[in-house]
Amino acid sequence: MLGRDSRLEVDLGFIKLKNPVIAASGTFGYGDEVAEFVSPSFLGGFVTKGLSIKPKQGNPPPRTCETACGMLNSIGLENIGIERFLKEKLPKIKAYNTAIIVNIFGESISEYATAASMLKGVAEISAIEINISCPNVKKGGMLFGTDPKLSFQITKAVLKESDKPVIVKLTPNVTDITVIAKSVEEAGAYAISLINTITGMAVDIERRKPVLGNMIGGLSGPAIKPVALYMTYRVVNSVSIPVIGGGGIMDYKDALEFLIVGAKAVQVGTANLVNPKACINIVEGLNQYCTEKGIERLQNIVGSLRTE
């Protein structure tokens, strides 16, 4: 049955996923809202909207706009805060038979550490993903993710305060992503996820104003897939911890590209906004692919890129 096919299982070392499809942070709410359309239980896992110690109101609207084969967003990490998440959301989502990954961020290293400590002992949470890569906030955010030293320090600080596996999510807005990847690996990260959005902007030529209230935003969707795939390939070949790849994945074929270059699992973001069944369709597609190609374990194709 869907989501129960052992061919799709992924062992990340620190968690086992029933399949490699993870809904990405910020595109799946807190996991409760989308449940009206699809049960998250079919997924390998999902990542919550980025959470901070205190609730955050985010950026002024407009916060989204369409671009060629993609979109810009400047949500600015609006969230209800970890406390309310644990009280109001977790009880609703903990029954899902899927890995719940909590995405956290802060404006300083100590805020990251505190955020992680607030999740201590919460058994339902499979892992923490730290977002050192958001282009939409002034303080912290992407700044951390472009500096190997800061990336190292945050990872260390979070690991110290956390009893969970820690995934570090990288930004593509850097000259050499492998430098950051190596530094978070060295700091002890359990896994790396990538890519977050690419910084961009759009102009309303009628008003001669930025389209987004925050002027700049993050580009996501199929437009960025080639960049995401390249960066995933680079990171896979520079670290030995598991890599979760993504950026622009819309269907199972896109997901396969990331697996083939070496990602053990994938994150699907913007696709969920366009089609709430996107993740499930991808799981189904991978399943069918295994059947058609006679593949016994999908993980066997991870890193199978022939480069001669």
């Binding site: 595109t27 809202e33 407009p62 949500i75 969920n272 906004l273 366009v274 709430p276």
Partner: protein, 260 residues
């Protein structure tokens, strides 16, 4: 809520650049409540990246059908206008937080500006006996006869800016005119139209101590409450137009902070 492919039953031009689209989608027509909307995507998929939000203007669950009234704005609506019977559209919905009107209302005053009449029509099947439908158009060219879409025992009065049809003026002028001579005890105003109109109406209603609800439009990426993209500033902070709205009490909106 569902994600499904709907078939076009028909797609008819009613006025200048305004079309009426009937879609066959059992689940949507069954679940739709007044004021809700759907997110549409045309095939082929590549035409536009994001879905587009459209109000459900009428739902006929006995026929598995719901209707959209839309105007040509840009690439998707342009393309929609040439859809033929039998074509397939991808639909997500119904979406939005439906408005629960109190049992004891005496009058429902619906005020629509232009294509803003679309979601207001969805209240007629339940409330036409209590409804007063005030619609403003630019001219007779974009005038829509709502009675044709939903016949019923409500008053339908029309204003056009150039006076080419009905009262000469805006829907708000007509509203003021209309309410001047009448007394309502438990009336509720629901309005949809350009932002400037809603702003003005919200002031008028506050002064007249009339309960007023407005339909807001913001750019929506998902329409399902997932992305936090479509927010509007309210007295309780940012709220998602798609999930917490699109209908809001006029009082709770921070009108001065909404960027035109």
């Amino acid at each position: 809520m569902s994600v499904l492919d709907a078939k076009v039953v028909f797609n008819k031009c009613l006025a200048k650049e305004i079309y009426f689209l009937l879609l066959k989608a059992k689940e949507v027509s069954l679940k739709a409540k007044p004021g809700q909307f759907v997110m549409l995507k045309l095939y082929p998929d590549r035409l536009a990246f994001l879905r587009r939000p459209f109000s459900i203007c009428l739902s006929l669950p006995e026929k598995d059908i719901f209707a959209i009234l839309y105007t040509i704005k840009g690439k998707v609506t342009q393309s929609m206008s040439s859809l033929n019977t039998g074509a397939t559209i991808s639909v997500v919905g119904p979406l939005g937080n439906p408005l629960k009107l109190p049992e004891n209302i005496s009058d429902l005053i619906l005020i629509g500006g232009g294509i803003g009449i679309a979601p207001l029509i969805s209240f007629l099947p339940m409330y036409h006996e209590k409804a007063h439908f005030i619609a403003g158009f630019r001219s007779s060219e974009d005038y829509i006869d709502v009675k044709e879409i939903f016949p019923g025992t409500y008053e339908y009065i029309v204003a056009t800016e150039d006076g080419s049809k009905g009262y000469k003026g805006t829907s708000l002028d007509l509203f003021r005119q209309y309410t001047k001579s009448r007394v309502f005890n438990n009336a509720i105003v629901i309005s949809c139209g350009p932002l400037a109109m809603l702003k003005k109406l919200s002031k008028i209603c506050a002064q007249a101590k009339l309960t007023c609800y407005v339909f807001l439009e913001t750019h929506m990426a998902c329409g399902m409450g997932l992305c936090q993209g479509c927010v509007v500033k309210t007295k309780q902070g940012y709220k998602r137009v798609c999930k917490d709205g699109p209908i809001f009490s006029a009082e709770e909106i921070c009108w001065e902070e909404i960027r035109d």
